[in-house]
Amino acid sequence: MELLLFILPVFFALSVLVMPQSFVRAYGLIGGLATLALTVVLMANYNPDGGMHSFVAQQWIQAYGITLHFGYDGISLMMLLLTTVLVPLILLSNFGRELSSNRLFTSMVFLMQLGLIGVFISLDGIWFYVFWEITLIPIFLIAYWFGEPERKAALMKFFMYTFFGSLFMLASLIGLKSFAASFAIEDLQAVELAPEVATWLMGGFFLAFAIKVPIFPFHTWQPSTYSKSPMAGTMLLSGIMLKMALYGMLRWMLPLFPEALDCVTYPIIILGTIGVVYGAILAIKQDDMKRLFAFASISHVGLIAAGIMTADKDTLSGSILQMINHGLVAVGLFLAADVIERRLGTRSLRELGGIAKQAPKFAFWFAALAFASVSVPFTSGFVGEFLILKGMFSFDCVIGIVAGSTLILGAVYTFRAYQLSMYGPVKTSAFADLSMSELIVFAVIIIAVVFLGVYPKAVIDFVEPSVTNLLASIKQTPLVP
């Protein structure tokens, strides 16, 4: 049953290539919904208190310490759910767009899904790395084939930057393995390191994750890549791929190197906080809507990364909730930017205005998304950010206050974008209101966000036992004096 998680995406990625052109989009949607259904079934069968459910655990290449070890707990399942919900939404939101080859596009999205699913359920270091890198190829191809005209330099930078980071993760994995029996996560966790060694090895992981998230000084690839990618590529990057890095911090970085935490927690939290303010300030000054949301994304994920590093139970649950929220809202916002661009041919805020009068339905859903993005109560962002900020305050109240500015700054840049594009004099020609497929995407996202805002316990209760286990494994390891 669980193996279908690998089989379904591969099957759809290959079979879509031979489907008739007119049927490709519907077929892709069916595939996306099939994996979603599978995830829902797995979640229904999973007992949140049951700990890690590993469905394959056996030796593979003993001489090199590689095992076949896959499994999931509440956190992984939440990430799987996010992935499998967003993939059909991304495919659906692409219905209105002309692509040079729908077959290749859909196939690449499924390959991407395969890599993402693999990352979220790998419990062996090498498999984690392999899937982590596999995701890079389809996203590169999507952006290369379907992106904007001057995309090549940006993509080159993106690929080299992230690959560079990943190689250091590989180095750290190899280094850590030289002390352990195998790459299985339990064996790696059992290693006790001297703090200096742990810090260096953790640095390799951190570099890979920090580049992918991206955390403040490693973010320079992100705005250009986001704005040059096609809309679906941006959605995949910001909606899911970046969660991969946050998940990596949770699952791999914290439990593997508890010895280093004393030394690195503070710097990483400070970097995350700088990212919160820095991203927000730059977002305020942007004219291109996609770039604006890209910087906003830096701001939001900086907060999540900082929250994860506090290694506190409520904060971690909040971070997971916020990861889901950010995935949903980011996809919605980039779709909104794309809706405007597709109709008017521009994303520049200076050239926009008065869309609300022409397209009231769009204005409503965009406003709802804007509220979700600035985390007003009754949206999931509120609960998530509240939990994270609470954790940050108890960690250090100065950092908490600085990070808290995200609430104000977030409102400034989001509503500035909304106001400039939707209100004011009508500057542009006719604006057709939302099509059915776009409406569905917006509605699903908003319903999910509001549901999680009203009833966050659904997520928090689901992940809480797993988070407790994770933290127990961090705290158990005795700190070397």
């Binding site: 593979w60 290449i61 001489a63 090199y64 310490g65 040079s100 090498i126 790395y129 392999v130 899937f131 890198e133 596999i134 890079l136 190829i137 191809l141 290369y144 084939w145 090549k152 080159m156 690929f159 080299m160 690959f163 560079f164 190689l167 250091f168 590989l170 180095a171 190899i174 280094g175 393995k177 030289s178």
Partner: protein, 459 residues
């Protein structure tokens, strides 16, 4: 041993079959012989029996020599099949071309199986001399002639160094056999004997030349660039694998003891660093396919030197896997280059390949990914194996190698971008003949499936 004889005989057959002036007969003879030999080797690997028991003290086809010979024969078979398209244009000489490649394979197999220095030297020469000729096989092409002459002069020089080194080592150890030398250097007095050390350095330099590591790499870009595609592929896959197999056998086996290792390893480590940077930085701005591949192969030599340094029990398997993965990748991309057949051999000629022939494009993409070491291709697993075993003693070298992997992404990605680009109007469609298509598919399977085979191969 019987496989070697079969291959030698099939080489003879293909030379004599040339009198019939029917290229197809030559190809059939050579590839039939190679397939029989491959069958014999697989049989010997699995059951441990040979059909003809020949004992000769100079050669020992143990399982290590067999897996190397097996890969070498498969690569030769692939290259002959690919090159046939070009060879048959000159029906008078097809037999010579194919025969020389097959003879060269005999030398390569001897280099994996030798047990004394004499056979080692013979193997090296049997391997090299046909390649000197083959590099110049496009007689009317100035660059091909240059490649041949350059390779011959530099090769002769390196051979001289090697002979000289063997002589010094004989002087120190009074032995030509591997076992004799290993036993002699186990004695502390011999191991510190300067005569031995000079001999080791001379042999080391000749190996470094043969595999094309910096600073003895200057011949390789010109030779790779000038030689015909098939010969370039042969040099990159077969010659390199055989040279590395012998390199590892001598240096990990004979000179691998604690004291001697401490003597030559630091020197080799420095060479590895230089090789990595020289190969990578020179490759960045190349516009011609084979020249780029030449520099990329210098970089790959740099990674492979880590195997020689690593001093691990699994080093032999690491080396085999790495070179096998590299061989499939390079044959894949060279075949694509040969089929596209651009007179200037520009990378630009690969533009829009996906529209012109999807199979070629897929093979090109996977080859590039494998050369760059990106999962899930065999190139990644090879790199991982090499790095993981080198880590314990040479962690700083591994980090330098990883940085170089990151640099190399730049030119691989540029090449990848050219292959997959869609917007420009592509050239006309390319037709691939069935033989070449089969080679491409085998390369593809090799690049994607080698990693999954590891658990079986390692036993």
């Amino acid at each position: 041993m019987d496989a070697l004889i079969v291959i030698f005989v099939s080489g003879l057959i293909s030379i004599f079959a040339a009198f019939a002036k029917k290229p197809a007969v030559v190809l059939l003879g050579a590839s039939g012989g190679l397939m029989v030999a491959i069958g014999l080797m697989v049989n010997q690997l699995i059951t441990g029996d040979t059909f003809i028991q020949i004992d000769y003290e100079g050669l020992n086809f143990d399982s290590i020599a067999l897996i190397f010979s097996l890969a070498l024969s498969v690569f030769t078979l692939l290259i002959i099949s690919v090159g046939y398209e070009r060879f048959k244009e000159e029906p008078n000489h097809t037999g010579e071309y194919i025969g020389l490649l097959v003879f060269s394979l005999c030398g390569a197999m001897i280099m994996t199986a030798f047990t004394d220095m004499f056979m080692f030297f013979l193997g090296l020469e049997i391997l090299s001399i046909p390649i000197y000729v083959m590099a110049g096989s496009r007689k009317s092409d100035v660059r091909s002639n240059e490649a041949s002459l350059k390779y011959f002069l530099m090769g002769a020089f390196a051979t001289g160094l090697l002979l000289f080194g063997i002589a010094w080592i004989y002087g120190a150890t009074q032995s030509f056999t591997i076992d004799g030398i290993a036993a002699a250097v186990a004695n502390g007095d011999v191991a510190e004997n300067p005569i031995l050390l000079v001999g080791i350095l001379l042999i080391l330099s000749s190996f470094v030349f043969k595999v094309g590591a910096a600073p003895f790499h200057f011949w390789s870009p010109d030779v790779y660039d000038g030689a015909p595609h098939a010969v370039t592929g042969f040099m990159a896959s077969v010659v390199k694998m055989a040279a590395f197999a012998a390199f590892l056998k001598l240096f990990a086996g004979c000179f691998g003891g604690e004291m001697l290792h401490d003597f030559w390893a630091p020197a080799l480590a420095v060479l590895a660093v230089i090789t990595l940077f020289v190969g990578n930085l020179s490759a960045l701005r190349q516009v011609r396919l084979k020249r780029l591949l030449a520099f990329s192969s210098i970089t790959h030599v740099g990674y492979t030197l880590l195997v020689i340094l690593s001093n691990d029990q699994l080093a032999t398997f690491d080396l085999w896997f790495y070179m096998a993965a590299y061989g499939f990748s390079i044959i894949g991309i060279i075949t694509v280059g040969l089929v596209v057949n651009d007179s200037e051999d520009r990378i630009e000629a690969l533009r829009g390949l996906g529209k012109r022939n999807p199979l070629l494009a897929i093979v090109a993409v996977v080859s590039i990914l494998s050369l760059a070491g990106i999962p899930p291709t065999a190139g990644f697993f090879g790199k991982y194996m090499v790095f993981s075993h080198a880590w314990n003693d040479w962690w700083w070298l591994v980090i330098i190698a990883l940085i170089n992997s990151a640099i190399s992404i730049y030119y691989y990605l540029r090449m990848l971008g050219t292959v997959i680009s869609t917007e420009e109007t592509p050239g006309e469609k390319i037709v691939v003949n069935p033989l070449t298509a089969a080679v491409l598919v085998i390369c593809l399977i090799g690049m994607l499936g080698l990693g999954a085979l590891t658990p079986y191969l390692i036993g």
